[in-house]
C-alpha cells in the first residue's frame, strides 16, 4: 500500500489531479476515526477530514518520498483537529458541553443488562467525562487521546504535535490530573 501511495503521489505531482482520489478514498476512514476521537463531534470530524486532505494536497510537493503517507497525513489531521479545537475555545458561544446530548453516550456505554440506576450513572459519567475533556487545553486533549485511546508513544505524540517529547509527556500528565479532579466525585459515587 505504501508503494501504491507513492506512485499515486508521483502521478499527482506530474499533473494527474484525479490520482489523488484513490489516496483520499483509502485514508478517509482512518482520518475520520482519529478526528472524531479528538473532537468527539461528527460534523467537526468531517470538517477535519476535508481540511486534512485539502491541506495535504497543497503540501504534497513537500512530502518526503521516504516517509509513510499515512503517518504524514495523520500529522496533518492532528494539526487540523487542533485548529478546530482552538477555534472552538476562542469562540465565546454556548459551551459544547451544554449542547451535548447524553442519549447517544448511554447507548454506547451502558450494559444492556444493567438496571436503570446503573444506566443513569453511566450516562452521567459519560456526560461528565465529555465536559472534563472540554476543559482540557487543545494540546492536552490531543496528547491524551493519542496516548490513552490511540496508544501512541510519547515520541509519536511529540512528532504529531511538533513539540518536545518532555512537553508531550507533561501534556498527558496534566490531562490525566485534570480529568481525575473533574471526575473524582463521580468516581466515588460509582
Amino acid at each position: 500500500m505504501g508503494n501504491d501511495d507513492h506512485a499515486l503521489i508521483r502521478a499527482v505531482l506530474a499533473g494527474d489531479k484525479d490520482a489523488y482520489g484513490p489516496l483520499v478514498a483509502r485514508h478517509s476512514q482512518s482520518v475520520f476515526r482519529i478526528a472524531f476521537r479528538i473532537t468527539e463531534n461528527e460534523a467537526d470530524a468531517e470538517e477535519v477530514v476535508q481540511e486534512t486532505f485539502l491541506r495535504s494536497y497543497r503540501k504534497l510537493e513537500d512530502f518526503d518520498a521516504r516517509a509513510n503517507f499515512r503517518t504524514w497525513i495523520y500529522r496533518i489531521a492532528m494539526n487540523c483537529a487542533l485548529d478546530v479545537l482552538n477555534r472552538q475555545k476562542s469562540q465565546a458561544g454556548v459551551p459544547i458541553a451544554e449542547e451535548y446530548g447524553g442519549e447517544q453516550a448511554a447507548v454506547q456505554l451502558a450494559d444492556r443488562a444493567a438496571g436503570p440506576d446503573q444506566l443513569l450513572l453511566s450516562q452521567e459519567i459519560e456526560a461528565r467525562r465529555h465536559v472534563a475533556m472540554e476543559k482540557l487545553t487543545p494540546t492536552e486533549r490531543v496528547a491524551f487521546v493519542l496516548r490513552h485511546i490511540e496508544d501512541r508513544s510519547t515520541e509519536e505524540i511529540a512528532i504529531a504535535l511538533g513539540i518536545a517529547p518532555n512537553s508531550a509527556k507533561q501534556a498527558v500528565f496534566r490531562a490525566v490530573q485534570k480529568l481525575r479532579q473533574s471526575l473524582a466525585p463521580l468516581w466515588v459515587k460509582s
Binding site: F53, T139, S167
Partner: protein
C-alpha cells in the same frame, strides 16, 4: 522508602517508565503506592472515548467528490525536469565548487593568518552564538514579564501568542544545541521555556486572565523568569570574557 509520584505512576501505567522493574518491585513492596496505583488504573481503565460512528464504504469517495472541485492540478514545472535530468551533474559541479572554495580558503588562511589568530574563527562563532542566545533570552524574559503582569490586570490585550509562536521555533533549535553541547542547565531552562511557549502559542486567540493565571500556576512562570534572568547574567559574563579574549588576541 521513596514513594512513587503520580507522574511516575502514570508513566508506569502507560509502560513508558525508564525504571520499570524498580517501579514494579516498589509497587509489590509498598501497600500505599500499590493502592494509589490500583485506583489510578481503575480510573484510567474507565475512561473510554465514544466509538466513532460508522462511515459507509463510499465515504472516501464522498470526501474526494467534496474537495476535488477546489484542487488545481499540479503543473509539471519545467524547472523540475530541468533539475531532475542533470541532477548528478549539478551535484558534482556544486561539490567541486565547494571543494575548490574550501581549498582556496585554506591556502589563503595559511598565507595571511598569524599563528596567534588561529582560534579567531572559533571565537567569533562563539560570540555570535552568545549574542543570538542573549537576544533570545531577552525576548523570552520580556514575554514572561508581560505574561506575569497581564495575569494581574483587568483586561488583557497583548500580542503574546504571536510572539510565543516566533520564539518557539528558535527555542527548539537552541534547546537541541544546548542538549548536544552538554549544557544541562541551559537545556533544562529552555525545555521549561518551550513548554510555556507551547501553552501560550496554542491557547485560544484571546487569552483571558483565567488562562494566564492557570499557565502561571501550572507552569511556574515566576520560577522560569528567575531561571532566565540567571542564565542571561551567565551569558553576559561569557560574552564579556569572549570580548576580553578577542582584545587580548588582537593586541
Amino acid at each position: 522508602m521513596k514513594h512513587l509520584t503520580e507522574e511516575e505512576m502514570i508513566e508506569h501505567y502507560y509502560s513508558e517508565d525508564f525504571y520499570r522493574a524498580e517501579a514494579e518491585t516498589h509497587l509489590q513492596a509498598c501497600k500505599q503506592c500499590a493502592l494509589a496505583y490500583e485506583e489510578l488504573g481503575k480510573f484510567l481503565g474507565s475512561v473510554r472515548a465514544p466509538e466513532p460512528p460508522e462511515r459507509s464504504s463510499e465515504y472516501g469517495v464522498q470526501v474526494w467528490q467534496s474537495i476535488q472541485g477546489s484542487l488545481r492540478p499540479y503543473q509539471l514545472k519545467r524547472k523540475r525536469i530541468y533539475f531532475r535530468l542533470p541532477q548528478f551533474a549539478y551535484a558534482a559541479a556544486c561539490l567541486l565548487l565547494l571543494a575548490g572554495a574550501f581549498l582556496a580558503g585554506r591556502i589563503w588562511e595559511h598565507a595571511h593568518t598569524k599563528p596567534s589568530l588561529a582560534s579567531a574563527p572559533q571565537q567569533s562563532k562563539e560570540r555570535v552564538v552568545l549574542f543570538v542566545l542573549d537576544n533570545h533570552l531577552d525576548r523570552s524574559e520580556r514575554l514572561l514579564v508581560q505574561l506575569n503582569h497581564a495575569g494581574a490586570e483587568e483586561e488583557v490585550d497583548l500580542p503574546l501568542q504571536a510572539e510565543a509562536r516566533q520564539l518557539l521555533t528558535d527555542n527548539r533549535l537552541y534547546r537541541q544545541s544546548a542538549a548536544q553541547t552538554n549544557d544541562p542547565l541551559l537545556a533544562a531552562a529552555l525545555d521549561h521555556l518551550e513548554r510555556v511557549l507551547v501553552e501560550v502559542a496554542n491557547s485560544p486567540d484571546e487569552l483571558n486572565r483565567a488562562d494566564i493565571a492557570r499557565i502561571e500556576k501550572e507552569m511556574n512562570t515566576q520560577g522560569l523568569l528567575f531561571q532566565i534572568r540567571v542564565l542571561r547574567t551567565k551569558v553576559s559574563e561569557r560574552q564579556t570574557n569572549a570580548q576580553a579574549v578577542r582584545k587580548g588576541a588582537t593586541l
